[in-house]
């Protein structure tokens, strides 16, 4: 062997070892002539156990009989075959277990016959991810059709009850009208529940689009809207500005909207209603915000239930709602890597805290 040739040979072996995939070189007679360390690890063999063996030792039992035929076909037409092209393939470990594999083949003419190099990659993890993506997509489309199909009959319930009220109100009498009105009201409420389910599924899957947001400015806008919708209420808003944070603007808007809506709702019985948005010092987060009100408050024994969906601590006739607002708040905040908690007492108002650290959590 010339010096140059042996140098090239050495480089070939070094390249083989450096390759990220398991590499197996096979001579024309189907025997293994060279493997790299990754191949040893992947198949569970020592190098010496593989060299000189027919490559079929690495082929699952079910495919072993037909493999020499495939090999001959490839040798007759040795084109480079990239990974993932063709059928799902598998490899066989020393302990007879198998794994899904992507295999690419290339042929080198050494002058003393063709040397086929196979690069083998274990794709178990990729397949698992693909499976998860598929099931999450089918869940998404399931929730989509559910929400679509559930809304239609609700619209009919609300619609026909509304028609009864408008056109047959006289026949129904006061009591009958009351029942029809209830049908309209609960249809609307169930519509909100369906929307909440839809939102829940979307928040959990949506990609966070983090950007700098002034939470104070957002809160001020929401406060203005609330005041505009009910101009007769007198509420004293105190809003800290600016409060810079890294957040998904749309989602964090939902958080502030829900918290301020609640504060607005639960202070409706007070002439001296006061709602405050501000920040508190935090040791573990980039920013800690709170929304405080002097409204109806809550029994702190039930504080843990506040953030669970469909839980309500007040009678619907006092403060209407579906019990989904705070559950959304928690979901969005946790999606941002933050946490939520509440302090309060009956008749003494409530304070809702949330932190954001600006880093996406899993």
């Amino acid at each position: 062997m010339t010096e140059l040739a042996s140098l090239a040979d050495g480089m070939f072996v070094a390249l083989l070892e450096a390759a990220p995939d398991a590499m197996v070189c096979i001579a024309a007679d189907g025997r293994i002539v060279l493997v790299n360390a990754q191949a040893e690890r992947l198949f569970g063999y020592q190098r010496a156990e593989l060299i000189g063996q027919p490559v079929e030792i690495l082929v699952p039992d079910a495919a072993r009989a037909v493999h020499p035929g495939h090999r001959a076909a490839y040798a007759a037409d040795p084109r480079h075959r990239p990974m993932g092209a063709g059928l799902p393939l598998a490899g066989r470990r020393r302990d007879a277990s198998t794994f899904p594999a992507e295999i690419s083949l290339s042929a080198i003419d050494t002058g003393e016959g063709i040397l086929v190099t196979a690069a083998i990659r274990d794709v178990t993890a990729q397949l698992r991810v693909r499976g998860l993506e598929r099931s999450s997509q089918s869940l998404e489309s399931f929730i989509y059709s559910v929400s679509h199909d559930l809304r239609a009959p609700l619209r009919a319930l609300s619609g026909y009850s509304g028609i009864l009220l408008e056109e047959y109100g006289g026949v129904l009498g006061e009591e009958g009208r009351g029942y029809a009105e209830r049908i309209v009201a609960v249809s609307a409420q169930m519509g909100q529940l369906i929307d909440y389910l839809l939102q829940l599924s979307r928040v959990s899957r949506a990609e966070l689009r983090l950007q700098p947001v002034d939470l104070g400015a957002e809160a001020a806008r929401i406060a203005e809207d609330l005041q505009r919708q009910e101009p007769r209420r007198r509420v004293c808003f105190t809003i800290e500005k600016p409060v810079q944070a890294l957040a998904d603007r749309q989602l964090i808007h939902t958080v502030l909207q829900n918290l301020l809506d609640n504060a607005w709702k639960f202070t409706s019985g007070r002439d001296d209603a006061a709602i405050e948005f501000g920040t508190a010092p935090s040791e573990d987060a980039a920013v800690c915000c709170y929304v405080r009100d002097n409204g109806a408050g809550f029994d702190s024994a039930y504080a843990g239930k506040l953030f669970q969906p469909f839980q309500r601590l007040h009678a619907a006739r006092d403060f209407p709602g579906t019990g989904t607002g705070l559950a959304s708040v928690r979901q969005i905040v946790e999606r941002h890597g933050g946490r939520v908690w509440a302090e309060g007492a009956v008749g003494a108002g409530a304070t809702f805290y949330f932190t954001l650290d600006g880093k996406e959590s899993a």
């Binding site: 009959p153 609700l154 009919a156 509304g162 309209v184 249809s187 519509g191």
Partner: protein, 147 residues
């Protein structure tokens, strides 16, 4: 030439009844042609036997339809010069961003999510009728003859 017809492409009989009633209640007296799936809609819009292609004043189009979906109806309409400019309002239960985007990408003039609440729904239909049939200037009849 633009006729005064409203096309309602809707497979749900309840939504159909509520929509028709809402039009009636808001004194919108235009003829409403109801088509119950996408294939019916395409057959109506493209008679294909030498008949003149109808040109309704407004189409209310549901997305989730049997046979041929609403988006496909929209695509086919926008690909044809004769139906390219007919106002199409997508009226659907979905509020998925994808559906909204796909509708606009395929040339919808508006996208309205059907409210669950009876009076909101009636108000939405009334507003659509008033805007598209009274307030909005339709495509002029005297354009270079296309069909």
């Amino acid at each position: 030439m633009t006729d005064r017809t409203i096309l309602l492409v809707e497979d749900n009989p309840d939504d159909e009844a509520l929509t028709l009633r809402a039009f009636k209640k808001s004194d919108i007296r235009n003829e409403v042609v109801v088509l119950r799936d996408g294939a019916e809609a395409l057959a109506y819009l493209f008679p294909g036997n030498g008949d003149t292609v109808p040109r309704p004043a407004l189409i209310l189009l549901d997305l989730n339809l049997p046979k041929v979906g609403g988006l496909e109806v929209l695509r086919r309409m926008r690909a044809d010069e004769r139906t390219q400019m007919i106002p199409v309002v997508v009226l659907t239960s979905s509020k998925l961003d994808e559906d909204i985007l796909d509708s606009y990408r395929n040339g919808a003039n508006a996208y309205v999510r059907k409210p669950v609440n009876f009076s909101d729904f009636a108000e939405a239909v009334r507003t659509l009728g008033v805007f598209w049939l009274l307030l909005n200037e339709p495509v002029p009849d005297r354009q270079p003859e296309l069909d």
